[in-house]
């Protein structure tokens, strides 16, 4: 199954805003995508609660998988999103 392993680039990790952006993007993908951290069961990437529960921090390696037509394109886009520092974009929050 096509997969991408990528290091989370957002400084606060896959939390709050970065998680919301990623989940929204995964939810609008044409096929189901799963995400996992090493040693844990893959969870649906369009599930905010499941993605938050991964507890992925900045620098954590995560793997995304998808199967079907266009899987590679979908995964490339999502991997690029994960690798960016989404907190640095549009000002971010000062939490």
């Amino acid at each position: 199954m096509p997969s991408r392993t990528v290091t989370v680039g957002s400084r606060t990790g896959l939390h709050a805003r970065p998680a919301a952006l990623f989940v929204a993007a995964a939810g609008s993908a044409p096929l189901p995508v799963k995400i996992n951290v090493a040693g844990r069961k893959p969870v649906p990437a369009n599930s905010m609660l499941s993605v938050l529960s991964l507890g992925a921090k900045c620098g954590t390696e995560v793997t995304i998988t998808a199967e079907g037509d266009g899987a590679d394109v979908v995964l490339d886009d999502l991997a690029a999103l994960l690798a960016r520092d989404l907190d640095a974009e549009e000002g971010g929050s000062d939490g």
């Binding site: 709050a16 805003r17 998680a19 905010m48 609660l49 529960s53 000062d94 939490g95």
Partner: protein
């Protein structure tokens, strides 16, 4: 450290807008059709499961919590509308209708929070709300709710059960996720209310300014807060990085979180809140309300006007330092940090925080200080401030038990690990990091601590003087350490054998007590003779009246909540060093606190 930015984004008089003619204890607020009671019993371990009904009298000790957003405010309490009571389980006849009802409830909650996200002008709040919308729309949650209904549950119980799974996962993860539990509970309460035909829970909207009290506040609540109406926030749960704290700071509203006694606050009670000290005085009179308002105005005026290092009128230096618990606390106007409390990092944890996590937290504070001195106090926990991962059996008198540096007797790895993380953070940021141990009684304990600090690569190691034994043998202590910091709160408690929580004994804990000042004077004198700094980091350091007395005794630094610095700076600047020394001599010869104050006045 956005205090200055937060304060300037606010109308100067907003949070203290208690019009003089208005009866502050006005009628109970009109809560918009909110059902009473929290989901008692539905979720074991629900935060805020504190029994209500405790009503502290007007003369009681203030309620204590963690001050997370500085400022003074006073006014009548309005409690946030509590969550709906869980209806009794019911037999489901029409599974399809139940499924549709549950799905509609979740959709309605998502839509409502989406509307709030659009309506708020606070970018932080909007972001949090949009994350909540995604949680309410979560397909995994949807499926779990549907599964439970197909297995025979009604919609409210199915929703509660589905959220409970994620709630537990968040709690188990600890840290950031554990603090997001309030978000989940808010979603659950809303969805349960809607699916059982009740209105969504919400915050009160009385027609007068009020102090908002809640078990915890959800982002949906705080996003709608009007700083012109909400004088202060007080919550039973939450932490320094909870929404309540973050949003209170961004709105410039004084806030106290983790205030267990807040469970006893009822609508209409008049309280005075100190958002830096973390205290809530209950049942205050109108004069106190007016006084609090005046203090807040003065605080703002001073903060705007005063700056620079601590100096007597003739230029003698007394360092003015800030007490902080995390990088979120303000340090504006401080020459450094004199007390970095590291307990917050350890609270509510199933395990000790990892090395990396500690390094991040310490480095964040070091970075915020940009090279100014930071005195880090190693973990000050014990049976009085219990931590889940330290298996502490009950002690008959926790204040006299295994707490502070005494924990290292049982678990030296915890202390060594913390020192290593502090050293790593200092190395990474190039910070001037000093470390000190709490609850030192003997020179041998100090020697052991300093050796551990040096082994970790930390050259500036000192200890706190909180135990009279340490003060009595201060010259021997000073041979072991680079500096001393006097914790006046505990030193009072142990010198006078008076529990800090015992309201009846408050006069014994007065920092103007001559016996306490004698011990301070002994330490200061010995420090000067040894050429080593002796500072103060208890409440007394924030007392502008005592500042020139301490300067006259030879104290080299005063560490306090940053908001208190301007008044202390002004008090020092009003006296020459010689005048300070005269004051100190006069105060030490006074017989009691009243006479001591009179001698200083």
């Amino acid at each position: 450290m956005g205090e200055a930015a937060a304060a300037s984004s606010l109308p100067a008089d907003a949070p203290t807008d208690i019009s003089a003619g208005q009866p502050v204890a006005a009628s109970a607020p009109s809560q918009t059709g909110v059902p009473a009671g929290r989901l008692t019993g539905a979720t074991p371990g629900l935060i805020g499961g504190v029994p209500g009904g405790v009503r502290p009298g007007p003369s009681a000790e203030p309620l204590r919590g963690i001050g997370v957003s500085p400022g003074f405010a006073a006014g009548p309490v309005c409690r946030a509308g509590d969550a709906p009571r869980m209806p009794s389980p019911r037999v489901v006849d029409d599974v399809e209708a139940e499924l549709a009802g549950a799905a509609a409830a979740l959709r309605e909650v998502a839509a409502e929070l989406g509307r709030r996200a659009e309506a708020t002008r606070d970018a932080t709040a909007a972001e949090i709300l949009r994350a909540q919308v995604l949680m309410a729309e979560d397909p995994v949650l949807d499926e779990a709710v549907a599964d439970a209904i197909r297995a025979g549950s009604d919609a409210p119980h199915a929703i509660d059960a589905a959220f409970a799974v994620h709630r537990q996962a968040f709690l188990d993860a600890g840290g950031y996720l554990a603090e997001r539990v309030a978000d989940l509970d808010d979603l659950r309460d809303r969805a349960v209310a809607v699916s059982s035909g009740a209105p969504m829970p919400g915050i009160p909207s009385p027609d007068h300014p009020f102090v908002l009290v809640a078990t915890d506040l959800a982002p949906a609540d705080t996003a709608g807060l009007d700083p012109a109406r909400v004088l202060a926030l007080v919550t039973e749960a939450g932490g320094p990085t909870s929404h309540t704290a973050i949003l209170a700071r961004s709105l410039g509203i004084p806030a106290v979180v983790r205030c267990g006694g807040a469970a006893g606050l009822r609508d209409g009670m008049v309280v005075a809140v100190d958002g830096a000290a973390g205290t809530v005085r209950v049942g205050v009179d109108e004069a106190t309300v007016a006084d609090t308002r005046r203090r807040e105005q003065e605080r703002r005026a001073r903060a705007a006007a005063s700056s620079g290092p601590g100096r007597t009128a003739d230029g003698w230096s007394v360092e003015l330092l800030a007490n902080v618990g995390s990088a979120a606390d303000p340090v504006a106007g401080a020459e450094g940090v004199g007390l970095f409390r590291t307990e917050l990092l350890y609270l509510d944890r199933a395990q000790a925080p990892s090395h990396d996590e500690q390094v991040e937290a310490y480095a964040a504070v070091f970075d915020a200080l940009g090279g100014r001195k930071v005195v880090v106090r190693t973990l000050d926990a014990g049976a009085d401030k219990p931590l889940p991962f330290l298996e502490q059996s009950g002690e008959p008198n926790p204040a006299l038990g295994v707490r502070g540096v005494r924990l290292a007797r049982r678990d030296p790895g915890l202390l060594d690990g913390q020192l290593a993380a502090i050293a790593a953070a200092a190395a990474r940021t190039g910070a001037t990091a000093w470390v000190m141990a709490p609850m030192i009684a003997t020179p041998a304990e100090a020697r052991d601590f300093v050796a551990r600090a040096r082994a970790a690569g930390l050259a500036s190691a000192g200890v706190m003087v909180e135990i009279p034994a340490a003060a009595l043998r201060v010259r021997a202590l000073l041979r072991e350490v680079e500096f001393l910091s006097i914790g006046t709160n505990d030193l009072s408690q142990y010198t006078f054998a008076a529990d800090r929580m015992a309201g009846d004994l408050a006069e014994l804990l007065d920092p103007w007590q001559p016996a306490l000042l004698d011990l301070v004077a002994m330490c200061a004198r010995a420090g000067r003779a040894a050429g080593k700094p002796v500072g103060i980091c208890g409440e007394a350091a924030a007392d502008p009246g005592l500042a020139p007395v301490f300067a006259g005794l030879g104290i080299s630094s005063l560490s306090m909540p940053a908001h208190a610095i301007p008044a202390v700076r002004d008090a020092l600047a009003a006296h020459t060093r010689e005048a300070c020394e005269r004051l100190a001599t006069a105060v030490l010869s006074a017989e009691d606190p009243t006479a001591a104050r009179a001698a200083a006045g």
